[in-house]
């Protein structure tokens, strides 16, 4: 058997996290460890709170009115929800890529450089932009047209550009919310390959509806499910191979085999 529960360093530690949208409790007492330089997949039926949980990691939920958080997320020995922490700082350490490619209506170069400028980077911008584009496997395709508008790229290229944009500010963690659901199969494969390369240097958390994708790219998989009261809970978290071949919980098995109703 090669399924080993390797013990890796914990990058993000979630402790008893509950999330409320107004009076509605979207997530209840989630606790999990996100390990460093591993890909963690969040799976579960629609509306179980995967995106909500993902957005907690970089405090994007702060942007929605009436959101309330209980519990902690420990990153770098600090609770990112503690008073002293400005979410802006967190977000420059924990990058995010969204479901639909959303490049800015600027040149390819400016898209990648945006985060650097915002964060007051002093140094060689060209170098950093090139590095980020190489890392996101886009450099070869765009190096001769860095000043073209980002919208001139195909959907898959746009998504990789969004990856480059996130990578440019050298985050530790990258959050991906269904990054390929708007892409065709070929572009999807490219993004998955990219994730496989990036996990050597980054901690990655990915939300996906595609179970095969979770199986392909991730090391750990967490299964969330919302119960009667529509409130999401963590049912099971384990090595990906384990989850997809012999999950421990019946709910997981039912969901994975499509017998969940």
């Amino acid at each position: 058997m090669t399924i080993e529960n390797k013990i890796n360093k914990v990058s993000l530690k979630v402790k008893d996290l509950s999330v409320y949208y107004g009076a509605f409790k979207a997530l209840e007492e989630i606790s999990m460890d996100i390990e460093e330089n591993q890909v963690t997949a969040l799976i579960g039926p629609s509306g179980c709170g995967k995106s909500t949980l993902l957005r907690c990691f970089n405090r994007m939920n702060d942007l929605f009115p009436n959101t309330k958080i209980e519990g902690q997320i420990i990153y770098d020995d600090i609770d990112i929800y503690s008073q002293a922490i400005d979410p802006v700082l967190i977000r420059s350490k924990i990058g995010m890529v969204f479901q639909k490619p959303n490049p800015f209506p600027k040149s390819i170069y400016d898209n990648v450089a945006f985060g650097l400028k915002i964060n007051g980077f002093v140094g060689n911008y060209d170098e950093e932009v090139e590095r980020a584009l190489i890392q996101s496997a886009l450099w070869e395709e765009v190096k001769d047209r860095l000043n073209d508008n980002a919208f001139s790229l195909s959907g898959g290229q746009q998504q990789r550009l969004c990856m480059a944009r996130a990578l440019a500010i050298r985050p530790d963690v990258i959050l991906l919310d269904e990054p390929t659901s708007a892409l065709d199969p070929i572009a999807t494969v490219k993004i998955e390959d990219l994730i496989n390369v990036l996990k050597k240097d980054y901690t990655i958390i990915i939300v996906t509806h595609n179970m095969q994708q979770a199986a392909r790219v991730s090391d750990k998989t967490a299964f969330l499910l919302s119960g009667e009261n529509r409130c999401g809970k963590l049912i099971e978290m384990d090595a990906t191979e384990k989850i997809f071949t012999t999950p421990f919980k019946k709910e997981t098995e039912d969901y994975i085999t499509g017998r969940f109703s």
């Binding site: 095969q212 997809f244 071949t245 012999t246 999950p247 098995e253 085999t257 017998r259 969940f260």
Partner: protein, 217 residues
């Protein structure tokens, strides 16, 4: 209930398996019967039945593979299909052994047997019982029953050794019976292998139930 079509398809696979099981069982019974009764016709019939088993096997493999292609099964579902592929293979091989017994019977020809058959029929009975149990265990994913099947296998082994020893005695006493004795030894060997196959199916059942691999041996 979701995945109805898929569940229906899985049920169909199971039905085919059961059909093949019945066929193979009959082959084993008939092959031993043909040996006991020196019934060459029956032996020939057994040999013919093997083709039918092969056809079922091919059909089922085709369907199972297409099912994997079209349904993207995961977890238990996937193990179920993979196990089906293994089980049908074991059954088919059991059929081959029965066919082998029938063929040996043809080789022995219309002569009298050198000794009355006692242990061989009881080996055959044990094997068939094992087969039934393992298939029941498989159908119901019954790990306990599967494990018990593995234990019965030892009894068959003991019987087989007894048969061989006995036949060796006969050979030593009456060298002219060597050929037939050797044939009978092979028949015992075949029956023992049939029992082994049941053990394999039992192990497949454990894999199906737990995802644990079979190398417990």
């Amino acid at each position: 209930m979701p995945r109805e079509e898929f569940d229906k398809a899985l049920d169909e696979l199971q039905e085919t398996i059961e059909k093949v099981q019945k066929l193979v069982e009959k082959m084993i019974i008939d092959s031993v019967k043909s040996l006991e009764n020196r019934d060459m016709d029956l032996s020939n019939k057994v040999i013919e039945m093997d083709d039918e088993v092969d056809k079922y096997r091919d059909d089922l493999e085709q369907k199972a593979i297409f099912l994997i292609a079209s349904e993207q099964p995961l977890a238990t579902d996937l193990r179920k299909i993979i196990t089906t592929l293994r089980v049908i293979m074991e059954l088919e091989r059991m059929g081959d052994y029965a066919e082998g017994i029938a063929k040996i019977n043809l080789r022995i020809g219309e002569t009298e047997l050198i000794k009355p058959l006692i242990d061989i029929p009881s080996m055959s009975k044990k094997s068939i019982e094992m087969m039934r149990n393992c298939m029941k265990a498989y159908k119901n994913t019954d790990v306990k029953l599967a494990e018990s099947v593995c234990r019965v296998d030892d009894e068959v082994d003991v019987l087989k050794d007894r048969v061989i020893n006995e036949l060796l005695q006969i050979m030593m006493k009456d060298p002219s019976s060597s050929r037939q004795a050797t044939y009978l030894i092979f028949i015992a060997h075949n029956l023992e292998r049939i029992a082994d196959r049941s053990t394999n199916i039992a192990e497949d059942t454990i894999f199906l139930a737990t995802g644990k691999s079979r190398s417990i041996d």
